[in-house]
């Protein structure tokens, strides 16, 4: 019989019970107040006139056009950025060249530049008052205040998501497996498809989901470059603002609710992936 067996184990890395409760409580209150309550408000406001109101609002031609616009933009921007992101991450992780640090900084640029500035840059570059813009307009190619401008703005702001997810994973994995494949006689393309791609697939998917969420939700850059033409260049976020400004709050919040649903769906997919493939993710993700 020893003293050690009698004494209760005292965990040295944890706080007293009341401190733990207080901290957990604080976190729960914060989450409820700043994340959950606004989300509930959006849905409650949308349903202020019942489901009929929501359906009527979402079948308005302007709302339908905005939903179509946002989905089209995301459907084009996300695959393009996935390809660009893989290419950039591949170059940075697997090769050494001068100016690599500069390239990494450049990829981060859209994160640090305000979206409004991004939109303005495109307006200044392709607008009617620049040489390039004047030439484009003279040749009947419209960039600003039209679909291509909105796509460019979305591509710009969502560019870093895929590359940023892939770079650390690819650097960590190193070049050994690819080098082995190449010495065994595989072509470059086959090496990429059978070795690199399977290794990065979870990080890639994660990046694509984040990229998609941002592509559908972008407001600032799109608002500057869209020209705010109802039913033509309005995306879902800009249309929400227009409806709200026109005292059509049911329409505004219905559209906002659809946007929130799309975002929740993205999050759900992400969580599902993490839950189903936790071990694989742990093996390939940086954390």
């Amino acid at each position: 019989m020893s003293d050690i067996a009698l004494s209760r184990p005292v965990p040295v890395t944890t706080e007293p019970t009341f401190a733990r409760m207080a901290l957990i409580g604080l976190a729960v209150v914060f989450v409820a107040l700043f994340l959950f309550a606004p989300l509930v408000t959006v849905f409650a406001e949308a349903l202020a006139e019942g489901w009929c109101g929501v359906i009527a609002a979402l079948t308005l031609p302007d709302a339908r056009a905005a939903i179509g616009m946002t989905l089209t933009i995301a459907a084009i921007a996300v695959p393009l950025n996935a390809v660009f992101g893989i290419a950039a991450a591949w170059a940075i992780a697997k090769f050494d060249f001068r100016g690599k640090a500069f390239l990494i900084t450049l990829i981060d640029l859209p994160f640090s530049v305000s979206p409004v500035v991004a939109g303005l840059m495109l307006v200044l570059l392709f607008g009617a008052n620049s040489t390039l813009g004047a030439w484009l307009i003279a040749n009947d190619m419209r960039i600003v205040f039209a679909f291509p401008g909105i796509l460019l703005a979305t591509l710009f702001v969502t560019f870093p998501f895929v590359a940023r997810e892939l770079i650390p994973v690819m650097i960590e994995q190193g070049k050994a497996e690819e080098e082995a494949a190449l010495t065994l006689g595989a072509s470059g393309w086959r090496t990429f498809l059978t070795v690199t791609l399977p290794n990065i697939r979870w990080a890639l998917l994660y990046g694509v989901l984040l990229c998609n969420a941002r592509a559908m939700g972008e407001f600032g850059a799109v608002a500057v470059i869209s020209g705010k033409i109802r039913g033509q260049t309005a995306t879902m976020p800009t249309m929400v603002e227009m409806f709200y400004n026109e005292y059509l709050s049911v329409a505004a919040f219905s559209l906002a609710a659809v946007l929130a649903m799309l975002a929740l769906l993205t999050l759900l997919l992400k969580s599902l992936l993490e839950w189903r493939h936790a071990d694989l993710l742990a093996a390939t993700r940086r954390h």
Partner: protein
């Protein structure tokens, strides 16, 4: 009461109604003289043709009249070639407008299309874009392909004309009333019961009042607000610069457009008084409940003339030009004027309007832009780079 008439076979005029004559003619007073002619009722299928014939004849004979009487000659340029009957292809119009006209143009576009189809034309697809007038003008300068612009003040259209050359410099003489089919003024919107007891402009410069108004750099309405305050100070024998500086010291947030300011005040609950377009204030009452806000009419305000014009350089076909010209001219028809009155604008021709829509406007001592020397002088002096607004806002 204003009426639009066709006189001398080749010109349109709008003026104060004097009397109807036995032969179906109407006599009006246009300020410097009396004119008589046939009243324009633009609802019948034949009158549209006459309307346009009048335009093309005005063009041929070169009759242009100053003041309130303006032959719609220049607009006839684009419509003379085809006329509405010739417009057999479907066309699109992009109307780039300022903030508070959203509701008016939504209804007007339907009214216009119904009339246009009744004239034997194919329906016109009308796209709308709204925002702060200055910002909208900027977008047109940057290449937004507006067919017509309907902005808050002529200085913004002057900017487009000057910087792009897509609008002739004398655009404002192309339609009656300085190309302003409707006018408005600036009033105060305060919270129910007027808890701060705001009655006039001098109540806005005390320390305890928060004033909401948009940014004069991007909003047309904000420039009218600024000038109205300036006019009050001048009339009361105060130093206008000091007065306006004190007023802007009480402004917590400058939105980019009038509608943004209205939502800041009404829905976000910021401020004690909103300097608002009269139509914007009435609309807020109608949409959000009369029990939440009160309108206070100051002793001095401005006659705000939001003008409309065709962006000639952006017209891609004769059919589009004809439709766009008709779109603007039809704004002067009794039906459209009644619609403007319904949407709380002070329109000219009250013949088709509901009496209640006309009676609700209080009489006001209105200062016009001409009292300040006109927009070409006011815009650079007060709102240009380093102008009066920049100086007072830096303090």
């Amino acid at each position: 009461m204003y009426r639009t008439i066709q006189f001398g076979g080749h010109a349109l005029a709008q003026g104060i109604f004097l009397r109807s004559r036995g032969n179906g003619r109407t006599e009006i007073d246009v300020g410097h003289k009396r004119l008589s002619g046939r009243p324009v009722t633009v609802s019948g299928p034949r009158t549209g043709g006459r309307f346009h014939r009048a335009l093309s004849k005005a063009l041929e004979s070169g009759h242009l009249r100053a003041g309130l009487v303006v032959a719609v000659a220049a607009l006839g340029l684009t419509s003379a070639g085809t006329g509405p009957a010739g417009a057999q292809e479907s066309v699109e119009i992009l109307n780039v407008s300022y903030d508070p006209t959203r509701e008016f143009y939504r209804e007007y576009n339907e009214l216009f299309n119904a009339w246009w189809i009744a004239q034997g034309n194919l329906p016109v697809t009308i796209q709308q874009s709204h925002g702060g007038a200055g910002a909208q003008a900027r977008a047109v300068i940057d290449g937004l392909e507006a067919t017509v612009v309907t902005l808050a003040l002529s200085a913004d259209i002057d900017q487009i004309a000057e910087r792009t050359g897509r609008i002739p410099a004398d655009w404002q003489a192309r339609l009656p009333h300085n190309s302003s089919p409707y006018t408005s003024t600036i009033v105060f919107l305060v919270r129910e019961g007027n808890p701060k007891g705001i009655e006039d402009w001098d109540d806005l410069v005390t320390g305890e009042v928060q004033v909401v108004t948009p940014n004069p750099k991007t909003s047309g309405g904000a420039r009218w607000n600024f000038l109205a305050a300036w006019a009050f100070a001048e009339r009361s024998g105060l130093d206008p610069t000091e007065f306006v500086t004190a007023l802007y010291r009480n402004v917590p947030v400058l939105d980019s457009g009038a509608r943004g300011s209205t939502t800041t005040f009404t829905q976000r609950g910021v401020g004690d008084v909103l300097l608002a377009w009269e139509n914007e204030a009435f609309l807020a009452l109608a949409e959000l409940g009369e029990d939440k806000f009160d309108i206070v009419v100051p002793s001095v305000s401005v006659l705000a003339e939001p003008p409309v014009t065709l962006v000639d350089g952006n017209i891609t076909s004769d059919a589009q030009g004809a439709a766009a010209s008709a779109y603007l001219e039809h704004l002067y028809s009794p039906e459209a004027q009644a619609l403007a009155l319904k949407h709380y604008y002070r329109a000219w021709d009250t013949s088709k309007a509901a009496p209640g829509d006309v009676a609700r406007f209080p009489d006001l001592d209105l200062v016009t832009i001409a009292d300040f020397g006109g927009w070409p002088k006011v815009q650079p002096e007060y709102f240009g780079d380093g102008g009066v607004f920049d100086q007072i806002y830096r303090e």
